[in-house]
Symmetry: C3
Subunit: 466 residues, 3 copies
């Protein structure tokens, strides 16, 4: 249905369709996501079974099934250290389809349906009766060369795709992509969380990896900074235009050199407190902002997710098991030390993301509507949804305009869902702008320029992807 | 008007009507409310005057009149300890009708209008001109046998109605209902607030009542637990399937046995601090969760109401005078100690309610969309309204789906308003699902199954009312 | 377009138009704003250039341009202490028009467009191509006598306009207006922030001004109170019906006389702490409530703006530079000490404003729906917008009704935008009530009475402007 998801009011519906059609074929700018670069390094990469591709890596899907007492084991997810079993993927697929009603009216439900139709050409409703036929059809498609990652990249019309990579990553897959002569633009993003958040699991080991990767013996805060600067330069040389930082809160603080070194020393000895960790992260965010103001890498900050909230699940299956729960966020006070230092740096851009919608109108839009360095990322995670995106536009545009936004991020590891996710964003924007148009807030010229900005230009400009 | 309250957009309107009509005659499941069981114990129970029935017990109504400087005395509400007066109920009714414009566009206004029409067959607008005629008509209806509680129970097509009863209640009215041979299913709910919240007014006296009711000398925390377990077993034997707990916040904490006993001892001496009270409540919530995981009673938690916020009013008239004001709520951190212990208990269900809508999308939907034991109660109190329910569905369904919700609670002491309240919920769900349908997020099969779940099945399943 | 901004659904659209037309010509009640009284004192007052009138004083406009790296200097705004330059206002206007796309779908964009059309009779789209023509047209209009402030006052059909004036203001412009024999009703509002918030810049100097203005030697808290009471009486004699108070939070506290005097003494010595300041402001809010309960001046409280968030900008340009950022707000706990004392005073009215929309449904509506002295101010600042006002009505009316609201405040220093701002409010209310009407929540009689109340009556009654 060409006009799916648009308002059922005829005037808005037809305006939305016209706006949507003006951008639906624009290339995809994917400035932030978690696709594995390995799949582009190897021209013969195969996705595995439909369950390998669509279920096992997708915590959006299995968390909902888990919430209704379906065990992760039954979905093909193995406990840490368990020997690989020959799980019956066809049976797992059946379990998923038997319970697909759980996803009614959810973005996960919409993405998979649209992805099956638009990417795989499968128009069957996902349910028990169709489970086997859908499985067979996906399996058949995946066996074809045109469903390999590079072929899909071209078919998806991706102009650029950024991965997210640890500060210690040697980027060998990115190097292999470059060496291969393939024309797709896949670039890394510098994410140093594992070495700057001293409470990360395995922090000490990450520091050793960093020393090795940077060729700098990291033994104090000064050498940490030196190593990070070295790695940023390397990432930049490999095409990176951005960094990404995750923190529980947006707290920033300028530590004295002595305090920073004392905390680092305690961390090395395994004696750092939770407060040490929060302060050190806040200090490193300011250091990272300083580096961005110098090297021009766009800084992204994602805050507000309490990771691994379910300790029993974490102990058994590890991280990213759908047990990350949002908390309240605050920016006006927390970001002030950073803004006090870098508000006026002309070459700096800081893109903010969080999981507390109350910040949209109260803090984020007023901040972005004043500070030149700030831009607002699109709705993140649970809010990457029709209503979530609509609420975001409702909450921020009146105060910040659309030109302090950054367009869309698909932010996904589910590679074949990328076109669907961009399509939903483009449809939301079309519908929202059509509402503005038919009510007379904006005119047609405005609306067509705005949808192009939201669908394509803002992402490209903000992330310096020209 | 058959299609009242639905979107005026014709496609959505007709879809909503079809959905609504598929569920409007389903029986009512009333798993949580405050109807007085006495009215079913006595087959000849009479409601008193229209003011006795509709005004004096309804703090939704008199708080709004009070906010506009109408005194509670003028509404027939007597100060504590005042001698009963022969207030002129016809004059009170006139005062209410003279000021009924205050309720324009409020749920209270809608409920009373719909109740008069649908239950009492009175189609007059509530205003000064019609005050006497409406009073007379209600009075006439109330004199008829078919307006006695049991007759209405059958006419309302109530399948089951749960009351809310103190842990110390002997449930003699429930016993009388059972003994009477009447077929209506009225069951108790176990609510131990008065004995587990050590800062409750009259806590010490409640402990004595508990000792007596349980036949256990409650003198420390261990005997308190023992008495509560005994009472739960008794409630269960009387048909209870659930417990209910009110707390200012969702704070939970596992106290050591020594700490718990020390606090209890201070409470007995009247020396417990506010912090003691908060910690003890948090500890008892975990004990209650443990008991629920053992006896299978569904646990309900209502948080976020600052009770009796107006001290002058409280001193003069007592509690439940419309002066309870919401506060901010938090679950991600506060519930973690409880979830850490009981997240994986297959027989446990915890239903969450609160008065801070910001928690819907930020905390509640992600929590319920992960933890098997969690379900989300419908919008509570001020949010039991057309827009409140619509915002709730908008905020939670995309993340939690509808199958982690519990359908509807009428949560009322206003017995004759029960069908109206369920009707509003069913209409909201029909309108909301129709919006999803006409935009193409769901199809007709989905929509009809979802409305049945929201109107009937989920409440019955969650509260184990089969 | 007569029906601009209304829902595109035909039934709602025509109902909205009928409601709007019933109130569009009612006089404007302007009970709170920041228009300079000087412009009415001088019958020959001239507005200066279009940039002097529309850009330089409007932080809504220049903050957005600043957020996109356009310097304030280029907009005609001079650093503190800079010598006046002969900036080319025509060029500044060109810069603004070149960047006017930034304001698409913002209230600022709508206000200026509607103001140009409705006040200045200029129907050109604001863009680069039309910049010069628009500038010329405005300039031509401003040269005409019918565009002087008093002539516009009459053309705008302003019934009463309240300014906002420091407690130390001698109100000589108000006196001049009275003496002039002109019939326009322009009244002062008493705003004592500079003398009661001991952390205000220049507090010590303001105290000296207060001593002089009141004829009271203010040297301690008791003489401060005495001076304030004297000034309130003077303001009242000059026509004031209200006071206004700004605070970072709604915190209130009753200090002992000794504590209050100790803090005041520390403040005089320049030794008061941030905590002292917060407590003293909280104490003075209670004193001000006490005075309002005695002299009948309506008390307004605006909380939640972190003023001058950007220190570099503040140092260079001073205050009100578009760098005020909202913070979270709380009322249930913070206002309790004040409410405990004055909840029942029949002659007292307290109007609440803040910048945290989460308080609307959670705290403000329940508080106003109970306490007789409380009324809710319209959405403030960033929320004085189509969607902001719609969200406000959605969030508060179901709980507080409309009769605990105060209608509209334009709250602006942009005098010629006043009719446009009231027009947007009247259109929002018409559209919102039309939605209630076509869905059957209210009937026509209700809707027409409600829009009149929201457009005119409630402001006049609340602010005692009869």
């Amino acid at each position: 249905m060409r006009n799916r998801y648009f308002s059922s009011e005829p005037a808005q519906n037809s305006a939305a369709l016209a706006l949507y059609e003006s951008v639906k074929d624009l290339p995809l700018i994917c400035p932030h996501g978690h696709v594995d670069p390995r799949m582009f390094a190897d021209p013969h990469y195969q996705f595995g079974s439909p369950v390998d591709l669509l279920i096992i890596p997708d915590h959006y899907i299995f968390r909902m099934l888990y919430s209704q007492d379906i065990s992760l084991n039954d979905l093909g997810i193995l406990p840490l250290g368990a020997a690989p079993t020959s799980a019956d993927h066809r049976q797992i697929w059946g379990t998923v389809c038997d319970n697909w009603h759980l996803f009614r009216a959810t973005p996960t439900g919409i993405w998979l349906r649209d992805e099956l139709a638009d990417v795989f050409g499968i128009d069957l409703k996902i349910n028990s009766a169709n489970a086997a036929a859908i499985y067979d059809a996906i399996e058949e498609r995946l066996s074809r060369p045109e469903f390999r990652p590079r072929a899909l990249f071209e078919r998806f019309n991706i102009e650029v795709l950024a991965t997210t990579d640890a500060a210690t990553d040697k980027l060998e897959h990115h190097q292999a992509i470059r060496d291969s002569g393939w024309g797709g633009r896949v670039i890394p993003t510098f994410r140093p969380d594992a070495v700057v958040n001293i409470d990360s699991g395995g922090w000490r080991a990450s520091i050793d990896l960093l020393s090795e990767a940077a060729g700098v013996d990291v033994h104090d805060c000064a050498t940490l900074i030196q190593a990070l600067e070295q790695r940023r330069a390397f990432f930049k040389s490999m095409g990176a235009t951005a960094t990404d930082h995750a923190a529980l809160t947006a707290y920033t603080e300028v530590l004295s050199r002595a305090d920073a070194e004392a905390i680092f020393a305690r961390a090395l000895k395994g004696e750092a407190s939770a407060k040490d960790a929060a302060r050190f992260t806040g200090h490193m965010l300011i250091e990272m902002a300083r580096m961005s103001s110098e090297d021009g890498l766009v800084m992204q900050l994602h805050v507000g997710s309490w990771r691994n909230h379910n300790p029993a699940l974490f102990a058994r299956y590890g991280r990213d098991m759908g047990a990350d729960i949002p908390i309240r966020a605050e920016f006006t006070k927390n970001l002030k030390p950073l803004l006090d230092r870098f508000a006026a740096r002309p070459d700096m851009t800081l893109v903010l993301f969080n999981l507390d919608e109350t910040t949209y109108s109260r803090e984020l839009a007023p901040l972005a509507g004043h500070y030149p360095i700030l831009r607002l990322g699109p709705p993140w995670w649970f809010f990457d949804s029709w209503l979530g995106m609509t609420r975001f536009l409702d909450a921020v545009v009146e105060t910040a305009g659309i030109y302090n936004l950054v367009g869309f991020n698909d932010d996904t590891r589910a590679y074949p869902s990328i076109p669907t996710r961009h399509d939903v964003w483009r449809r939301v924007c079309a519908d929202w702008l059509a509402g503005q148009l038919v009510r007379g807030f904006i005119d047609e010229e405005d609306a067509f320029e705005m949808i192009r900005a939201l669908a394509y230009d803002l992402a490209k400009q903000t992330y310096r992807l020209d």
